[in-house]
Amino acid sequence: MTCKLVVIGAGMASGRMLEELDTSAFDITLFGAEPRGNYNRILLSPVLAGEQEFNEIITHDAAWYAEQGITTRFGETVVKIDKKKKLVVTPQGTTPYDKLVIATGSASFFIPVQGNDLPGVVGFRDLDDVEAMLAAAGKTDPKAVVIGGGLLGLEAAAALHKQGMEVTVLHLMDHLMERQLDPAAGYLLQKELEGRGINVVCKAHTAAILGKDHVEAVLLEEGDLFPADLVVMAAGIRPETRLAIDASIRVERGIWVDDAMQTTAEDIYALGECVEHDTVVYGLVAPLFDMAKVLAKTLQGQTAAFVPPMVSTKLKVTGVDLFSVGDFAEGEGREEIVFRDPARGIYKRLILRDNKIIGVVMYGDTADSGWFFDKLKSGEDISEIRETLIFGPAYQGGEMMDPLALVAAMPDSAEICGCNGVCKGTIVQAIQDGATDLGAIKAVTKASASCGSCSGLVEQVLAVTLGDDFQAPAPAGICACTDHSHEDIRRIIKSQQLKSIPAVMQEMSWKTSCGCHICRPALNYYLIAEFPLDYADDLQSRFVNERNHANIQKDGTYSVVPRMWGGITTPQELRAIADAAEKYNVPTIHVTGGQRIDLLGVQRQDLPAMWADLNGAGLVSGHAYSKGLRTVKTCVGSDHCRFGTQDSTGLGIKLEKILWGSWTPHKVKLAVSGCPRNCAEATCKDLGVICVDSGYQVSVAGAAGMELKQTEALATVETEQEVIDLAVAFIQLYRESAAYLDRPYKWVAKVGLGWVIEQVVDDAENRAALCERFEISQSVYRTDPWAEQAKPEYQTNKWATLADLTLEAAQ
């Protein structure tokens, strides 16, 4: 007969246990007090902060339970366990069990003061709590008091602050998160939160919660009074043990369980936050998941034992990097290594005993936390690397494998160049046949000839193969036509006032008569950037897309992308686009990531007529093909969004109207987000603006392509005009000093963000001069190339075929 398994509680622990269990062997009934399925409670903070939706954090929905053949009784509360008759009792009736699992979790601990039952006092455990908090945040000038400065309380405080509430955190102890942090890290955290505008009061003893029909204020024993529309109880959790106590099952702080998750009663098991194992009650999820695995095995008759894992803590507050694990109290026989950088707000502390790491606290920079955690778990003796230990893995000479050894160990079949499918053996063969530098290997094998990201590896293969004969490449010329670098070329163009491609080639001793497809577009760009008024753009030195003002596709057709300023369009524009798509038989219409519409599969000869039609509706080139300004992505900002702090759309349009048409070393993409939720994804752009209540955060040098990189702060300013000046100056500086085909993030990495800030932010005079030079260039280039290229003279000179011999053949 199938075993009747009854589970009380549909939370994360029981959900994981059911996942681990072979459910076909049981007849399972699941009771849950909340009228909804199982969701990831850990992610309630992001839901509260508005960073995620509730449906994103659901882990098991009704369909999942149905698939597993589990009967769900959500919203039905178990009020009693009858051990003798092996029944559970609910107001709706009784349900028999063969085996019973108690997974009732925990409830927020409501500190025992007067007024703790007033409406407006909530815990932070479930979705109902979150909804109550969001309702309070929607009032005018809302104020919240969070009681408890631990993990949960601070996440709630940060989220409520983000929702626009004035937030005060009252914490009983001397410093925040005292269970996870030492005083120094607690201090840094407090400073960070206060810097964001969250009021933090430590050593705060709550005397009473005041209010008539609803909470109005919190009073401290010290006499301070904090007005509040909402009070969040986050002073700890209390295991939900009532059912077990009533059934005379052993309960300490939580329901007592042995290593197999069995309670003191026959056929009754328990797991999750409601249990106590070996005198410890757990509140973090990792150990609960371990319990789930153990209990699933126990129920299936296998032996398993719960071993308390080492648990690390990270705070889920955006922008706060904090990590702690292990034991970090001071004590006999313990040593510590501490690193502090107050200016950058970085603090790292390792606690050692017998030359082993037993505790780690990190604040501000937690990049190496995984490495330290591994060392802690493995119990490795660190005496050998103690001197540099605190600096992390990058400074451990012996830890890093010699990269050459790595390459030497690769088999000949290992692929080095993914773009062109070139393996190590092919490269080695080419080297043995006489290709002894990167350029030669590129020419013979195509390795590193496409994206170039493997050129370091190719050089390592060279070094390994040639041994002592290998010479590290001198600063290479930009192509086979010259030995000069991009930087040299730019410098000499400027100092010698070389105003044409032939002049540059002559003066700089080009080795070829008229360059190649690598150097000519670069030279053309440098001359445009240096002499916008004197130099005539050389179309024959432009890549096809920039010559034809459309993107060539694999079959020789083109894609046409009209500009949509800031991503805003109108019914008229959409009609014109739809009409053009039909008229020119566009097979594919695609919406781009930059908030534009892409018309793909246009025949070359149709381009000018199509542009003329689009021009007629006021649409201009979107420059989706250019090394120039592509798009300024925006969200709808304060115009429509209930969270928007500024007119992000309007600012985006202003930026785009100023910047469009400009040529740059590589493509440039901007975004403006109306609030820190950052819906326009501004923090991975070449230049991103995040609007905040007090102004605008401008950051630069992000990347979201072959490499992924967050932007770095340039400056925070108060007005739109300042944003525009910064953006223009930054882009002009990039135009004037970057190597062709370096995106801004690569250029900034070369010149240093500090230098960029000096030039663009600190030196107002220089910023104005950059803006002025940009405007001079734009007096020539801020124009629609489609309108120009659709003129009749281009039809005969460029777009029409030179001759049609098919007619002659027909004669």
């Binding site: 070829t512 190649c516 075929t801 053949a809």
Partner: protein, 111 residues
């Protein structure tokens, strides 16, 4: 035997550029180099049929706009590591006019 057809003025093709002539068996690209020499080759790269007429012309070669194969305009042969070739056609300039030998083009059409 050659059969010259006057297809256009030399100045109709930009220096270091190309224009296209339609023929019954496909497009032929007419190139003009910086030194005003002209070449005619099939307008389809041996690699993935990229339109060579849209490539950057340098020396007596063109770089295909799709994947940067470099094709020698005199021989039609791919350069460097790439292997492949395109058809070339007889062409000359007389009195500022470009003349293309249509023998092969016509023969093919007839065949």
């Amino acid at each position: 035997m050659t059969s010259w057809i006057d297809i256009a003025a030399l100045d109709d093709v930009p220096p270091r550029g190309a224009r296209v002539v339609k023929t019954a068996h496909g497009c032929v690209a007419i190139f003009r180099t910086a030194q005003d020499r002209v070449y005619a080759i099939d307008d389809a790269c041996p690699h993935k049929k990229g339109p060579l007429s849209e490539g950057i012309v340098h020396g007596t070669a063109v770089t295909c706009p799709l994947h940067n194969w470099v094709i020698d305009l005199q021989t039609g042969m791919a350069q460097g590591a790439d292997e492949g070739h395109v058809n070339t056609y007889e062409i000359k300039v007389e009195n500022g006019r470009i003349l293309l030998d249509s023998t092969r083009l016509m023969a093919r059409t007839a065949a």
